[in-house]
Subunit: 108 residues, 2 copies
Amino acid sequence: MAAENYDVFQAIADPTRRQVLQMLAGRNLPISKITSHFQISRTAVVKHLRILSEAGLVTSEKIGREKRYHLKPEPLFEVKDWLGFYEQFWDNKLTRLKYVVETEEETD
Amino acid sequence: MAAENYDVFQAIADPTRRQVLQMLAGRNLPISKITSHFQISRTAVVKHLRILSEAGLVTSEKIGREKRYHLKPEPLFEVKDWLGFYEQFWDNKLTRLKYVVETEEETD
DNA sequence: TAATTATAACACCTTTTGGTTTCATTTCAA
DNA sequence: TTGAAATGAAACCAAAAGGTGTTATAATTA
């Protein structure tokens, strides 16, 4: 991969990376274990892990010949903060029903 | 742009698109007005708007020769929901049990 | 020691992204 | 009614993203 500074928003944009994060929730796993859950190559997984690492969402620790990855959810705070701003623009009663009702009020 | 189904996570990954969303918070603006806030070309802005539109984050309405864009924050609920799962890892309180930590099929 | 396991480091490839320029069409307004 | 304003649409481009395979190195284990 080319870019060296990955943003947390970019990091979570990829579905595979979101899956990796979920896999690391609650348990720490080595690369091989993570890779075995995907169809893509280990090299590809490692690249995703590097992006997550650059975004601060995971850390790693070498244990013997393994490299264990840990979830670090702290950078997600930024996303939460960002979302907080937009909450004032949605109607909680409607969004509670999640995608069931599509409103079409156009307020100028 | 090639892809036709933009995910909300992908849509908000780009800083320019996040700025566009912020510009549309509270007021509806035509393309020309949005473009004037950026250095990039109108065409580039339109492409960002299409991506936001495909993600359901904006809608547009034609008024005369203008095309006014409106913020539709509802899809952001998916992001909030997703974040909710990770909050239990930075707090100690359990937020939701909607996403259950996947119990591994492989025992070490 | 030798074979195996886990990872690292490259080189390389294809598609997508984010941008450009150019030209056409529609609408408003003097 | 004619020109400016606002948008649409197409062709094109460089770089980044996401993937591959190969080879090398370090740690384990039979």
